[in-house]
Structures are given as structure tokens and as C-alpha cells.
Symmetry: C2
Subunit: 186 residues, 2 copies
């Protein structure tokens, strides 16, 4: 979904407000395997996935680990860079073709000061970000790879159509061979 459409499902916006917001959005199509945000980069942008699937990952010497997946209407936020002026460890890679809307965070910030409803949206965006992260920590600490696999199936069924096994395995915390065996049973 187009980000403006998405905003309109969450908050009320006047025509002029929509225009203001539209001005700071840039939109880009991406292909499978395309790097939307490189690892260990500094980027102060919001990445809103309008269409398609991505993975947030970290890669260093041989290891390539998927932290989480993003699907339509979800947001990637380089927290380290935007809020702490640090290099962001994670990168974002496309696992299907699609469209991403990117917004310079500073410009977004100035708009939120003018549009109260947009501030509300930003707040709830942060809250859902916190929620996702804490859920993920629970999932990593307290659930088994199998349970993780099942949760992923219900939360992101279409990921399996797009993502190579290896990325899913690293998300679950097992090797691709183990995942292959895990799902062969039954």
C-alpha cells in the first residue's frame, strides 16, 4: 500500500497536509536481492515497504544472519543512525521485487511538529517498533526453532515463497540443513 494511503487508514489528514507529506517522500522500485540499505551504513531515513518483502540482516565474515523480515506496510528504521548518530549495523535487502518509500527523518520530524496527527502516528509507530522488538526477544529467548518456524508461518506466510531457505534458517537460529530436516518431518 502507498504510504499516504496507509497513513490515512491510521490518522485523519487534510488535503494540504497530505500535500506537505507527499513532498518529502521519495519512492523507489526494487528487484529481488537488491540492497536497499547496505550493512554498516549511516542512513537517517525511514523505509516504508509499500509493496514486496525484505529482510533486515547483518553480515560479517562468512556469517549472514537475518534479524527479521519486513513485509508490506512495515517500516525499517535505522535506529542507531537516526537517534544516536552512529553507524547502523543492519542492512535491508529485498527478497522479492517491490516498492519502498523513503523519508528523510529530519524532514519528517519538522512535519510532525506542524501536524499533530502525524505526531500521534509517529508515537504509535515507535510503540509498535518496541512491541515487535520485545516480542522478538521473547521469541529468541524462550521459544524453540520449531516454534519460531511455526510463528513465522502464521505471521509471514508469503516469506516462504520469496526467501531462500538459508535466510529463514538464520532467522530461526539454525542451519539450512536442520531447517530442511525439520520441515521434512510430517
Amino acid at each position: 500500500m502507498n504510504i499516504i494511503e496507509f497513513l490515512k487508514t491510521k490518522i485523519e489528514l487534510s488535503e494540504t497536509e497530505i500535500e506537505q507529506i507527499s513532498k518529502i517522500i521519495s519512492r523507489k522500485k526494487f528487484d529481488r536481492k537488491e540492497l536497499i540499505l547496505p550493512v554498516e551504513n549511516s542512513s537517517k531515513k525511514i523505509f516504508f515497504i509499500e509493496d514486496g518483502f525484505c529482510r533486515v540482516f547483518y553480515a560479517k565474515k562468512e556469517k549472514d544472519i537475518t534479524l527479521y523480515f519486513l513485509q508490506e506496510n512495515q517500516i525499517g528504521l535505522p535506529v542507531d543512525s537516526i537517534f544516536y548518530d552512529q553507524i547502523c549495523k543492519f542492512g535491508i535487502e529485498a527478497i522479492s521485487k517491490g516498492t519502498v518509500a523513503t523519508i528523510n527523518y529530519e524532514k519528517w520530524q519538522t512535519l510532525t511538529e506542524q501536524i499533530p496527527n502525524l505526531q500521534k502516528f509517529t508515537n504509535s509507530m515507535m510503540i509498535s517498533y518496541v512491541k515487535n522488538a520485545t516480542d522478538r526477544i521473547y521469541n529468541l529467548k524462550f521459544q524453540t526453532p520449531k516454534e519460531r518456524y511455526e510463528m513465522l508461518q502464521t505471521a509471514f506466510p508469503s516469506i516462504f515463497l520469496h526467501s531462500p531457505l538459508g535466510h529463514i534458517a538464520s532467522y530461526l537460529g539454525i542451519t539450512q540443513e536442520t531447517l530442511s530436516r525439520l520441515r521434512a518431518k510430517r
Copy 2:
């Protein structure tokens, strides 16, 4: 540190504002092993650790896993309950004696609408919460138990004086025996 003192280090507050805030704070001393927030409870309160150490944990059938530690001036936030009206999976347990300030989130919320600086504080609280959570995910997915151990030592050196090994081990993601062996080397 007293929460009011802490707020004053972060934002400017008038005398009347301080009074307003003070009214909604309740303060409680706790002892070692005391349960500050039971597991799978519903609580819409902010827990600010004024003094001492706690752990945020989850426990179910035999398993008892520490998600993270809290020390002085840190905040425990039952995200699920406050923002999603769900039961909060995690509990908070004291690992030393100390003091916790608890604040009803709704009352806090109303105050933030009146005190703009307090809103700023809440925003940066959410941001640091996001930062901590995403760092933790990175730590869990990309670092070894040994690296985790070393990070914990630098970030929370005093945890080791208060917490039984088992809790630290579950935080790191290994058994207590393995941790014991890990630190015996050298």
C-alpha cells in the same frame, strides 16, 4: 537516583510541574528476590529503578530465563499491557535490595499532555527502549555467549555481585555449568 532528580538531569521542570509529577509517583522499597512484577500479569505502570538491581525474566515450567537486567535509573515498561492491553509475559524480580518508583501510565500520559518537556522525556525514553531492544537482538543473534559475557561485564559490572550465576547464564543463553567453565579459563 530519585526519579525526580533523574528527570531534572534530562529536562527542565518548574516547581509546580515537579509537584504535579510527584503526586503520581509511588515509591516502594524491595528486598533481594522480591517479585516487583509477577510473570504473566497485567500492569499499566512504569517501573523506574531508583536504587538496586533487577532482572526482567520469563518463567514457565522449569524454565526461568532472564531477558535483561535493570539497574539504577533504568525503566521497566510492560509494553504489552500498557500499549496493547494484553497480559505482559515478563516479570521483574529484584536481585538486590533497592527502591522502585512506580507510576500509573495513564496518569503519566495526562501529565505529558500538560507538560511539553515531559513529552520530550517520554519520547526519548521510548527511543532508548527501542535502542536497547534492537541492540539486544543483535547481541543475541550475532554474538557468542562469551562476547555477551564480556559485554555484560562492561555494561553491568555490579550485576555479578548480586545475581546468582544461573540468572546470568540464562541471560547469556547457556547453562550455569557452561558459564562456570567459560570463566574458569584464564
